[in-house]
Symmetry: C2
Subunit: 517 residues, 2 copies
Amino acid sequence: MPLDGGYDMAQTRGRRGGRARRHRERIGAPIVQQRYITREIPVYELLDEAGVDLLHDTSMQILEETGIDFLDDDACRQWKEAGADVTGRRVRIPRTLIENLLAMVPESYVQMARNPERNVVVGGDNTVFAPTFGSPFVRDLANQRRYATLEDLQNFVKLAYMSPVLHHSGGIICEPVDVPVPRRHLDIVYSHMKYSDKPFMGVQSAPERALDSCRMCEILFGADTIRENTVMTSVVNCNSPLVWDGSMLGALRHYAEHNQAVLVTPFIMAGAMAPVVTAGAIAQLNAEVVSGLAYAQIVRPGVPMVYGSFLATVSMRSGAPMMGTPETLQMIYAVGQLARRYRVPLRSGGMLNGAKIADAQAAYESMQTMTATLLAGTNFVLHAAGWLEAGLTAGYGKFIMDTEQVAMLQSFCRRLDLSENGLGLEAIREVGPGNHFLGCAHTRRNYLEGFFIPEIADNNSFEQWQAEGELTHDERAVATARRRLEAYEPPPLDEARDEALQDFMARRKAELPETVS
Amino acid sequence: MPLDGGYDMAQTRGRRGGRARRHRERIGAPIVQQRYITREIPVYELLDEAGVDLLHDTSMQILEETGIDFLDDDACRQWKEAGADVTGRRVRIPRTLIENLLAMVPESYVQMARNPERNVVVGGDNTVFAPTFGSPFVRDLANQRRYATLEDLQNFVKLAYMSPVLHHSGGIICEPVDVPVPRRHLDIVYSHMKYSDKPFMGVQSAPERALDSCRMCEILFGADTIRENTVMTSVVNCNSPLVWDGSMLGALRHYAEHNQAVLVTPFIMAGAMAPVVTAGAIAQLNAEVVSGLAYAQIVRPGVPMVYGSFLATVSMRSGAPMMGTPETLQMIYAVGQLARRYRVPLRSGGMLNGAKIADAQAAYESMQTMTATLLAGTNFVLHAAGWLEAGLTAGYGKFIMDTEQVAMLQSFCRRLDLSENGLGLEAIREVGPGNHFLGCAHTRRNYLEGFFIPEIADNNSFEQWQAEGELTHDERAVATARRRLEAYEPPPLDEARDEALQDFMARRKAELPETVS
């Protein structure tokens, strides 16, 4: 499949950030979706080449000398056959083997959506944004914290579907704790298929759940289609430090065998699960990621995989995880450089924070993280909307306010317009010293494009804000979430496939236990 | 004066971000002040060289063809003598003249403080952080919005004095509206001299107020000292588009004649005071700044001056100013590149936002702006703490939470430690797969340095946060402001000089009217 699904930013500029789009939104006209963004601005290179090489070398030393545990007999056998030194389940991997396997990872790939208009290209200069992931709690539409339900998950799927700046529906946005654990994955995957037509993730929490995700995609897309194409980008975590457990490896293997992409992601709280030094945490993470990416290439050479990273630091005072702190930014930038060195797609960052509510702390930390995420050249941004409380809570208000900030950052990724019109000399000649530009010909011609105008952020006068009830940003955002959900209409889904999906789910639910044995 | 006052970041690392410093703070030990930061990481280059050249060329075209008004007879005469084309008060300046004058601006300069330990170097890879400026209102210690008073100004001076990450005391942090306008400048300048020993700004709102600021500095520093040294960095604004008014030019001239630095700053709401296109707004701002910088060099060749910029966009829907939006970030980065092209120090950005309260909007927008400010290579950050409501309000809570974020960004500006200890291989060898790092020898040796731990941001568990009263970030920050002010102790001030300053003020107050005529 050609990688030409790129979104023409210049051509559709007015529809993306402009007044016209927002006007249409207000009157309920269809939302103009974006497929993904293509970055037109440079990445930020924190380290020089020698620094990146040194981090790489250190990771290679870790894999060669200390090694990494693959807690799975099949994986150990495969590593041995590939040329690694395997003792028990400790795998020591020569750097040439890692490098040869890494070279097989595609630089980018297409993830198909059931609506081909929503296909995304993961890799290169593209960035795909997806909702938060894995929260057991929500801050709900009454802004109360409670356990998440399947209805919440579906609500977030709907909100992501309605957001032009989220290109991907995500996966376990929140945990539907009202559904038994062994059956939960079926409802999660079905919710994405039913309530959105954007690309999504399969479930990874057990190998058979990954397999069920593949089976459901065979029904939705057709078995032929999924054999040849990637229709899921799921996530698999490493147990840091340096352990790939059997369950995750099983899921990774199922996805790889089915040619389905995975965000191969260590989830590191540096100081506890990695050294208490920034560079050391990066080197360890890098060793973990590349060993996972390499293993997937053993399973199926050329299978699309994503360099995944999640890095927080741990407070040496309280043991609490911390995000948006200076070391996490350094990690995000350095990891970006490593992924570019290997020419593999990168997943990193998001709107991460440790705040309990969507207050100033949440926003500071989220924006610290997200700016680095973007300028590091991240290709897949999980947690782009809704994350609160170190991931324990998915917030409806946070979700909405994050998407507005994401919209602004996406707009920032466009090349500065240095055309004759963009330089505006004509306006300056017409207006001259001491006058204003509000009515001049150049302004009249350009004001519809104008500057980005946020909807949730309030830039009105104090008096107007006061008259409107002195609402916080969070209160405005939660109200917007409620309004959007009321306006939701599902994308059409072929009835026969929907029925087949429901039949499959009913059969599997009957087979699967209520509780994990 | 040699530019060797640099702050050794590595040597004092533990005192800056580490647990030890925070521990000492809690037990009331002296705060270890920082003089300024020296950026050890690269700047972000948004545009290529051709783009920067094009913006420069456009500015030169503006100054050559449209020209700029200098509403002051002396200035027009001086421009004519220097070789500009002057018609009435419209000055058209050949680019060679601009370029020759710009070349005289020092790349960096020392601003002396009355405590030489607080001297700052403005320019090069250094960044100096100063409080917000010019707000008529405050969000006070009860988090209520009301008119600002002299006591508020003094409180902010005290808070800035106590913050290790603010290196400069600023100027009219808030407007002391309880003091008559014509006499206000005396109390403002005296407050900085009395309640802090950090460098500060003179007042610019009228030429004689600039002169009074110089006179007071002669008393504080000695007339000989100020003749040879720069002891103030003040601010002067252009009336965009393309007008330097007589009052501002008079203040600029007094400061330049006294060898005192000025942030030469257009204050632009693009769309109203500049074209509604981003590049056009930058080109106009650049024309305004360089004409001001060049004029100062006519007044006194070699006088230290700073390339100043303040850029917001205007909503074409409501007319409201907007900050932290994508175009303002592009502007900040582009302006950084222009200032580097001219090799002059840069003032830009800050914690800008349009929020009425210190909520998520305030934080998102502030952080968007501040990250760009830092990565653009800004040398002087006005509005680094306290800004709210498009500058109309200075917030006590916002001030405190901003300084914490500034501390983190300053820490991010340090080079990533890639030493053997920083790479932590020793820890990984010791701990190995599947264990944790909390007790290992490497962690025990490094945990005091550890990772940055914020004080105001709450990373504790939900349950602990709940038990502590479910405070917002703003509520925690306001409480911190109250505690800090209670703990404030003034730096010693020579009694004779203090008396002389008070005598001068009393005399001037008797001379000056109660109201502006």
